[in-house]
């Protein structure tokens, strides 16, 4: 862990400060009924505990530790609990890397996504006096609940969750929602025409002469 990361102030970029507004505008108002305690969700995550320990590797955007943190937090946020696809089924981690590679995203946003990973490590050390990589699955679940109660954590986890939901529900042409597994689980009506290679987000700006 890079010390300069650990010592950063946990400031939320303005764009993410009001996470409810970020997702729901006036015309998408919804009345909420009751409060569900986050802690009640702990313990319902199943199946991963007996798996052989995965080896996490660094990539172009993340260190091995950062990779592990993202993947294990994704598994808590959207667990493989027998109800619908898992984060692996929808390629959620690769989707996150693709987002990190998006040069049209503000640099401050990308930095915040990375900072949140590092702050998760910092919180692990503060809470358990050990690195995230040494936490067992139960401790990771507890850590996510702790982070969710932090203002930065709620914001960051919400964003991470949004990216998982994108991997669940956007077009498989983006190497997510593999074999339409997300759409099938949701019973989602598929619109036509679907995008072709020339008009995906990666290509459309060139196709229409906008870059």
């Amino acid at each position: 862990m890079d010390e300069k990361h650990i010592n950063k102030t946990k400031s939320i970029p303005t764009i993410f400060k009001n996470i409810e507004d970020w997702q729901i505008n006036r015309r998408k108002f919804v009345k909420t009924l009751g409060v569900t305690a986050i802690i009640s969700q702990i313990g319902v995550v199943a199946s991963c505990t007996s798996q052989p320990k995965e080896i996490y590797e660094a990539n172009e955007y993340l260190t091995a530790l950062q990779t592990e943190i993202v993947k294990r937090i994704q598994e808590v946020l959207f667990p493989n609990d027998g109800n619908g696809p898992s984060v692996n089924d929808i390629n959620a981690f690769q989707h996150f890397l693709w987002i990190l590679s998006d040069q049209r995203k503000p640099k401050s946003s990308i930095e915040y996504y990375i900072n949140g990973i590092d702050w998760s490590e910092e919180t692990a050390q503060e809470t358990y006096a050990k690195s995230f990589s040494e936490l067992n699955d139960k401790e990771v679940e507890e850590l996510v609940a702790i982070i969710a109660d932090e203002s930065w954590g709620k914001s960051w986890l919400s964003i991470m969750l949004t990216f998982i939901l994108e991997a669940l529900a956007l077009d498989p042409i983006y190497n997510i929602n593999t074999s339409k597994v997300g759409w099938q689980w949701l019973g989602q009506y598929e619109g036509t025409p679907r995008p072709n290679d020339n008009i995906t987000y990666n290509k459309i700006f060139k196709t229409i002469g906008a870059e």
Partner: protein
């Protein structure tokens, strides 16, 4: 195209306010140049791709490059400015050939005769700058009708208490097929004694030239149309103009300055193309960049002729900006509370509802008195999944995740369908809703961005809340559960007009009755900027109609000259 050519008309923008001018002038034989700041997306570039259409800035500028500064009022009364670059807000609506009309839902309502006489009919309201329009409904009616046939409006005229006078008995295209919920709403209205209006849409139901009828993709609003059924300016008007050979379009051309000749006549449009400065010359200029950007361009074009900006001698450019008052409501129709047959009916992916209430377009209430009301439009929650998914992850201010989230998601998608309504009522013009140039922030070219103050009048909320209660009655009768409404003064950025109101008096208006700037002989504004008030309906049809009205004036002004050269 000829870069050094002097065109008859140079039109800045290509959306609903520009399309009728482009169409009519090209067809009349005038040479027309269109400068559009966005790219030229063709029909084949559109797909039902939620990432491109809704989740990323593809049809709108990247906010890191181009943004607005929004000034909103805190609870303590102080105004706070924030750049949209640094917030979740986005005041762009579609930067491409055809503008945001490519992405509209195309709910088409005419304004009603009393909307043109808002002050005379309903009287003044303290703090609101209400005026009558300088024209009346009868002046607009022929152009509403023209939009029906040229742009293409589908529906069925049924007599009701607030039906506008019409010069034709019915719409030229039959109504769209609707979900069974439409019949349920009809019945609910009948049972409650509430008059249900069958709404029209700017969407074709039959072939029109090379435009195909709607194929019911069920991904309509926010998405480009793949059959050309939706009456966008690009498909319905610009494509036709191009066939004349008289129309040139330069996409990705961002106009930043209109130059005058020292005698208050516009001679050149200065624009950026591939980051290089270019100019276009024409005899007559038309600006239709959507309300905020139109005011910005006029204010940014100040010079010795117009030291405060074009047409801004009285400080009125950018003033009296209008969004749409209103709000939204909704409720869940749970399949297990319906018969198997009914559940199957509303599970049908068909998403069009096309039902509205206009019974309280004018309110006569014991408590509230006699006042202007509005429209309640019913619709299903949009088909695309992300908004529905995102809604599940925050409840009561807490983040929901894990198995609880997955369970909630599955229930939401599998066990119910959400029926909604949207309210449209007047956003009263006030001194706290306007556009100016920001003194600090600049866009990627170094030009001042528009700063928009978004204050609202509390009267708008009174009306919206009244209407929301009526909408809730229908939802309740339908058997919807968890009925909720949201009414606030937060504007919907996709419904924005005003800023250059038209009128007879140059001291109180920017534009004359023909939407020409009073003090400039050859500059017209034909987007929604002209509107002194917005009526209580979505604006697109009125913007189209007005642009056809101005085109009619231009034809009368210029076509009878000895040649087509102005």
């Amino acid at each position: 195209m000829e870069q050094n050519k002097t065109y008859d008309f140079c039109i800045v923008g290509s959306g609903a306010g520009a399309g009728p001018i482009i169409y009519e002038m090209s067809k009349a034989g005038f040479k027309v140049l269109v400068l559009e700041k966005g790219p030229w997306m063709k029909t084949e570039h559109f797909a039902k791709d939620e990432l491109v259409s809704c989740r990323r800035s593809v049809y709108t500028p990247n906010k890191q490059d181009e943004f607005h500064v929004i000034e909103s009022q805190h609870k303590n009364g102080e105004w706070h400015a924030q750049a949209t670059r640094d917030s979740s807000k986005d005041y762009w609506n579609g930067s491409c050939v055809g503008g945001s009309s490519n992405f509209m839902s195309a709910y088409f309502h005419r304004m009603k005769p009393k909307d043109f006489r808002l002050l005379s009919e309903y009287g003044p309201i303290e703090g609101a700058n209400i005026v009558d329009w300088p024209v009346n409904y009868n002046d607009f009616e022929p152009f509403y009708t023209k939009v029906e046939s040229v742009v293409g409006v589908s529906g069925e005229v049924r007599q009701h208490s607030t039906l506008e006078p019409r010069s034709t008995p019915d719409y030229p295209y039959p109504p769209l097929k609707t979900n069974a919920i439409a019949n349920w709403i009809d019945k609910a209205g009948k049972d409650l004694g509430i008059e249900i209006v069958h709404g029209a849409r700017g969407i074709l139901t039959q072939q029109k030239n090379d435009r195909n009828p709607c194929y019911h993709s069920n991904y309509c609003g926010s998405y480009g149309c793949s059959s050309n059924a939706k009456g966008s300016s690009r498909v319905a008007l610009i494509n036709e103009a191009l066939k004349t050979g008289n129309c040139d379009i330069i996409p990705n051309a961002k106009v930043f300055h209109l130059e005058t000749d020292g005698n208050k006549k516009i001679v050149k449009a200065h624009y950026y193309l591939a980051n290089k400065k270019q100019t276009a010359t024409a005899n007559t200029f038309v600006v239709a960049c959507q309300a905020i950007e139109t005011s910005r361009l006029l204010l940014a074009s100040k010079n010795s002729d117009f030291p405060n900006g074009l047409g801004n001698e009285n400080g009125l450019v950018g003033k009296n900006l209008i969004f749409s008052g209103g709000g939204v409501g909704g409720g869940n129709l749970y399949f297990d509370e319906l018969s198997a047959e009914d559940a199957k009916s509303i599970k049908n992916p068909e998403s069009f509802v096309n039902r509205a209430i206009q019974q309280w377009y004018e309110i006569n209430d014991e408590e509230l008195g006699h006042l202007k009301g509005g429209t309640i439009d019913f619709l299903f929650e949009h088909t695309n999944p992300m908004p529905k998914l995102s809604r599940q992850k925050i409840k009561g201010g807490k983040l929901i995740y894990g198995s609880k989230l997955k369970s909630n998601i599955q229930k939401y998608f599998k066990e119910q369908r959400r029926i909604k309504f949207e309210i449209f009522n007047d956003w009263l013009p006030t001194d706290n809703c306007f556009v100016e140039l920001d003194k600090n922030e600049v866009d990627k070219w170094g030009d001042p961005v528009a700063k928009v103050r978004i204050g609202y009048h509390p009267h708008d909320l009174v009306v919206a809340k009244f209407l929301a209660k009526k909408g809730e009655l229908i939802l309740d009768k339908l058997g919807a559960k968890n009925i909720s409404t949201g009414v606030s003064g937060a504007p919907s950025p996709n419904l924005v007009v005003g800023g250059c109101r038209f009128g007879n008096d140059p001291k109180t208006s920017v534009l004359d009755v023909n939407c020409k700037i009073h003090s400039i002989p050859n500059l017209y504004i034909t987007d929604g900027s002209f509107m002194p008030s917005g009526g209580s309906v979505p604006y697109t049809w009125t913007i189209y109609a007005n642009s056809f009205r101005v085109a009619d004036h231009l034809l009368k002004r210029f076509v009878n000259q000895s040649s087509n050269t102005i």
